[in-house]
Symmetry: C2
Subunit: 456 residues, 2 copies
Amino acid sequence: MPLAPTLKQRRQRLASHFNAPALLWSGCATPRNFPANTHPFRPSSHFLYFAGLPLENAVIRLADGELALFMDEATPAQALWHGPSPSREELADKMGAEQAFPLKELERFVGDAVATLKVQDSATAAHQEQLLGRSLPVAKRAEHQDLQLLQAIVQLRSRHDHYALEEMRRAAAVSVSAHKAGMAATQPGLTEAQVRAAMEQVIMAQGMTCAYNSIVTVHGEVLHNNHYHHGLGENDLILADVGAETETGWAADITRTWPVSGQFSSTQREIYDIVLAAHDACIAAAKPGVEYRHLHLLASRVLAAGLVDLGILVGQPDDLVAQDAHALFFPHGVGHLLGLDVHDMEDLGDLAGYAPGRSRSDRFGLGFLRLDRPLQAGMVVTIEPGFYQVPGILQDKGNCDLYKNLVNWDRLAQFADVRGIRIEDDVLITDSGCDVLTAELPTEADDIETMVPEPE
Amino acid sequence: MPLAPTLKQRRQRLASHFNAPALLWSGCATPRNFPANTHPFRPSSHFLYFAGLPLENAVIRLADGELALFMDEATPAQALWHGPSPSREELADKMGAEQAFPLKELERFVGDAVATLKVQDSATAAHQEQLLGRSLPVAKRAEHQDLQLLQAIVQLRSRHDHYALEEMRRAAAVSVSAHKAGMAATQPGLTEAQVRAAMEQVIMAQGMTCAYNSIVTVHGEVLHNNHYHHGLGENDLILADVGAETETGWAADITRTWPVSGQFSSTQREIYDIVLAAHDACIAAAKPGVEYRHLHLLASRVLAAGLVDLGILVGQPDDLVAQDAHALFFPHGVGHLLGLDVHDMEDLGDLAGYAPGRSRSDRFGLGFLRLDRPLQAGMVVTIEPGFYQVPGILQDKGNCDLYKNLVNWDRLAQFADVRGIRIEDDVLITDSGCDVLTAELPTEADDIETMVPEPE
């Protein structure tokens, strides 16, 4: 599928939802420790959706289904240091843009009615405000025509077209290979950093980047863990949450949990199979019209039922979920939208994730849910139930009192070698059900065990 | 060497050069595509020099040789998601700080006389300005007490202490391994991205990061090349400029150039040996008191002489260098300071690189020199001569006219398979000469050839 017709279709769809002109900036690379040493450039996802190419310091104008590209060409001095680059006309042609101008021409296209979004890098944001002559709140607080533009973009970006899905399948395939490499590289005595490096190498070798900072840890109970210094103990589980992003910004997001020794202990396997049952139940139930919140509660019930069977929770699964007892071990949501961002459109707050009129719950077991909408064909969501023994939750006095009679703490103590397990796949909602984009990577405990080498 | 005594020595040395109180901010992680998906955090190098630990959103106060740490402890909610972290007191103890406060206490320590530096991330910079009640120019335009603070910091950071050198040796050792891995992974038909991945994997596996965006390319003539999509042709040279940075921010910076086939062609080897002769001459001449500009001109003369011997340049080497004819093929400086930044203290413009009263030359052959000071024991500099056939230089009409009689263009055409060669090492100036921190990585063409496998 070539790029230009896809982009044309996207802007025509935008025009059917929003009829004012819009300007979208790509942004600029930001300094790391000094101005010339920048972080790798990542354009604004909203820009990328309509421009298709990762151009730095570029602007597009979308109006009436037409695209104008604004960017400056490399100066001779820049070409000298950075090599030849395609001309503005060549890029415009590749994008199918109807017009192309140098940046200074932007001035001719600003006015009260122009809608825009504030970008992430502040240098560009300052330029946006100066050019438009108005201050811009962060995207999630946009108002007036900017909010209307966002609402239209959410409509488009929530349901992926063929081009986007091809990109996401590429990201998924490379991410699957990365996880296989991580499992194959596992040996007791190595460090988390070595497994991470084996995984990210696969992504980098394909010319892709990581869609987010990888989690590769033997402390899966630390949910946002970006440390990699621990050694791999032979009784540990590794939880790896690693996903690739294609050159044009499309993401994958996969988590697997595997035993360092290549063999789950009996307690690890019992919990693993419960998490997998929750994962599988959600995928079996995912189809258009189903509320994503329903999948979250389904995962919660399956987890609660499994923990009751193991004697860790005490009571009826439905009652336990109603009391949020499952959230002691599964404190996050079952997943989120996936697209150009790993948490797609999270820059817009809950505008994309929550249906109009809905907002976050105060409930312990629901407040971290990032998505609360009925599923639609063309959406891609993650399904990622987990089980964690988070000291901050399980040792919290309030929780201990509240759930005193619902948890068999002595029984739980027998599962001390299960600190954190998560199983996450990327799921495309189809007309009749769903398609797991990451299905090439096994989930069954038996299969996982065969992929991890025996300790040397 | 433990951290706390080193930091104490650094701030006592600062106090001997600068007697007002100084506040240094570490900065905050910056968003990549949405606020919660950040680039990996890298603290301000000036903060790191005196704080030693990569703390996010922290401030230190240096006054009279004493250190106060300002930072907030993780909230229970943060600890829940990010895991346990050391307390403020534990960190202050590790740093040997005399005092430790929460961030809100900073208000008590601001005043007209407080010197500071603007950090790279704009969110923190805005906070700095608000707290101090004054606007801050970018660091290289600092004035008054801020400039005096910078001048004192330049004094300190230009000559490395034992702790810094230990860190830089660690970064150098890992970078050497990365280059060896890159050579070992080379095969015709692979891509630049695959070689890059093999190199960066080594750095990541050690828990380090890259000090800068790697250059790994068969188009070495593109000096700032951050593309990795080209295939490796069997007659190509790979130029790889890749360096590690330790967990506390200390950098290495190494370039090697090797043949994809494992065998230099005769033309490639002839040019390689000239670049190596320039490299070796600079290292032989580097010692305290020698002007770094002298090394640059020495490299230029050796290159010119070699190119005369090959029949590419026509004339006397000294005359050719006086006319900048060498710069047709060696258009950059022979190196720069190295430390916490790969171009150390480049955020300060030329304040660190140029001795007081000196400024950049207008000459084609000198204008890109980043360092123009007499060498001192304890400095670490790179030595990185190169030879490039940059189309933007060699096809420039002005250059063709100007150097018409100094270049044998027909002879040059015979060297078309040499697009770019650079050989770069990290050199510590010692009391009597210098010590090459990256000497474990061979430079001789014969040795390089043995490190690249034969094509399969």
